[in-house]
């Protein structure tokens, strides 16, 4: 097996035994990129020179015996995360020349861990989308079927891991943007509890919902990445000051006695029959592994999409007000006054989905409508949170599908924004409640497209969802199947 197809934990072992070098792993990844990137388009910016320099530094560190688990491992970073001195576009024309003057917290942590940066990955503009079709730089294609979407908004980060164009990657999740691409691309994707991983340096979309998280080839790798990026950040007032356990210690391959809740609303209208059948089969597997399955209800599930599509655009309209061409990014030339400059810059700089959400959000927050929309949605958000509290009183984790269908075709939903929004139906509730959630592959449709299983946990209980997912993974082999590129 080529190095680029191996896991971080396996490569780490070989590195520490000095059987291979980070330079060799990095070379393997860039060779792979040369072979497939033309077809997939996972990356906006590739960093071959930096990567080789970091690989050399990693090798020196490993020689001295100072390796950490991610030292020398090539990782890709979603282009929504600030990397000092390295172009960070957020998938948008308005920032296509933007070079941050500082590193995000997660970037600093990855540098300290000795990771090797492969590049910045493609994404839906400002994280708004479920297909990566809203990128100013063109779409990313699903490695399992190049005519299909890789999911979104972190499509590039997911496709890169699935295609062997990096070993691990970082994405962000506001309404499912890590979990849904993970399901579309047949890999593991995890969204931590709100506040577990700092948002300092993450370009803000919806500040009460955004979280950074890992994409990985298996659960153990996701746990390693989570270890590296989690923790308190004093510069982030939404960062929670709780100790970070070693998440790998909970991967004990034993879920006997754990109680797993299946929300009855999870198998409602609109779910693809193959997805339902595959997820139900996975539930049977979990039962065979000794978990007790219980039926639970999340009665306000049907309102989650409506709540999200008021709150997220409202917060986005505020967060994106800063893109005005004054201090950084694109500025429209030739405007006769300041107001005209703002309007031209923003209208030319933003894509249509971003403008649509800014309009929606501005409306929802405007005088006369704030109570009817934003406040109302925030109250229903409380009801959704209470549904989860009641459910977690009865179980350790919740099991449900990640997406209602496998990856759809490029262009299939671009003309119907509401249809696109409804594809987030299973992932949105957990962002509203701030809960941790992950997706891992649980099977394949007849077409060969991957299907994802979602595991949700209570606040700051990432160890429970990792434990369940890891046990399922060790007793199945879906995660070993690779796309035919």
């Amino acid at each position: 097996m080529e190095f680029c197809q191996m896991t971080a934990h396996r490569l780490g072992e070989l590195l520490r035994r000095k059987e291979i070098t980070s330079k060799e792993i990095t070379r393997s990844v860039f060779d792979r990129i040369e072979k497939v990137e033309d077809r997939i388009h996972s990356y906006i910016t590739l960093l071959p020179d930096l990567a080789l320099k970091q690989a050399a530094e990693a090798d020196a560190r490993i020689q001295k015996g100072e390796a950490e688990p991610l030292t020398g491992i090539p990782v890709a970073i979603k282009d929504l995360i600030c990397t000092q001195g390295i172009r960070t576009t957020c998938g948008s024309h308005i920032l296509d020349n933007f070079v941050p003057t500082y590193d995000a917290t997660v970037t600093v942590r990855l540098k300290k861990a000795g990771a090797v940066f492969v590049g910045k990955t493609n994404m839906d503009e400002f994280a708004m989308g479920s297909s990566t079709e809203n990128s100013h730089f063109g779409p990313t294609r699903n490695p399992w079927d190049l005519e299909r979407i890789p999911g979104g908004s972190s499509g590039g980060s997911a496709a890169a891991v699935a295609a062997g164009e990096c070993i691990l990657s970082l994405g962000s999740d506001t309404g499912g943007s890590i979990r849904q691409p993970a399901a579309c691309c047949g890999i593991v994707g995890l969204k931590p509890t709100y506040g577990r991983v700092s948002r300092y340096g993450l370009v803000a979309f919806a500040s009460s919902l955004d979280q950074i998280g890992p994409f990985a080839k298996d659960v153990e790798d996701a746990a390693l990445m989570l270890n590296a990026i989690s923790g308190y950040e004093p510069r982030d007032s939404t960062s929670v000051n709780l100790p970070v356990p070693d998440y790998t210690k909970f991967l004990i391959n034993d879920i006997r006695g754990m109680v797993l809740g299946v929300p009855r609303e999870a198998f409602g209208e609109g779910i693809d029959p193959e997805v339902e059948a595959t997820v139900r089969e996975a539930i049977r597997t979990l039962e065979k592994l000794g978990a007790k399955m219980v039926d639970v209800s999340l009665p306000h599930s049907e309102y989650a999409v409506a709540v999200y599509y008021i709150i997220a655009p409202a917060e986005a309209s505020s967060n994106l007000a800063r893109y005005d061409g004054v201090k950084y990014g694109f500025r429209a030339r030739g405007a006769y006054d300041l107001l005209e400059m703002y309007k031209e810059t923003r209208s030319q700089g933003f894509g249509s989905e971003v403008k649509r959400r800014i309009m929606l959000g501005t409306y929802a927050l405007s005088a006369g409508y704030y109570d009817a929309y934003y406040r109302k949605a925030s109250q229903v958000r409380t009801l959704i949170g209470r549904d989860f509290e009641k459910a977690f009183a009865q179980c350790d984790a919740l099991i449900l599908p990640t997406a209602p269908t496998p990856a759809f075709k490029l262009g299939e939903k671009v003309d119907d924004p509401l249809q696109m929004y409804l594809s987030d139906i299973y992932t949105i509730p957990c962002n509203l409640a701030g809960l941790p959630g992950l997706s891992l592959p649980c099977g394949f449709a007849k077409s060969g497209l991957p299907i994802g299983l979602q595991v949700l946990g209570n606040h700051f209980q990432e160890e429970k969802i990792l434990r369940v997912a890891d046990a399922y993974e060790r007793n199945t082999d879906h995660h070993l199947r690779k796309p035919n590129l």
């Binding site: 506040g195 309102y303 004054v326 201090k327 109250q379």
Partner: protein, 95 residues
């Protein structure tokens, strides 16, 4: 609630966005469609429910009022489209 063309134009001004006639018309349709979907929230009784603004309930996170290093001035200015003598130059405001 139905949104009118005038309201869409007003929102565009608030959002500092400029649209063509056709785009405004398309927005009226799309926003009405989406807002129509949101109307279902009206079915829920929420008068006694506190809104959630923070997912994990943190409040009043403060730090000591002590001076910390700021961004480097030259570096920050150099990122701008038109830096000039320590400022970001922009077109003038004409009322």
């Amino acid at each position: 609630m139905k949104i009118s063309k005038e309201e869409v134009e007003h929102v565009a001004v608030l959002a500092r966005l400029k649209f063509s006639e056709k785009e405004i018309e398309r927005f009226v349709d799309q926003l009405n469609n989406i807002l129509g979907y949101m109307d279902q929230l009206g079915k829920l009784e929420t008068s006694a429910v506190e809104p959630t603004f923070h997912a994990v309930g943190q409040k009043n996170v403060f730090r000591e009022d002590a001076v910390q290093p700021s961004l480097d001035l030259d570096l920050t200015l150099s990122n701008g489209p038109d830096p000039d003598r320590g400022f970001f130059r922009v077109p003038k405001i004409i009322e």
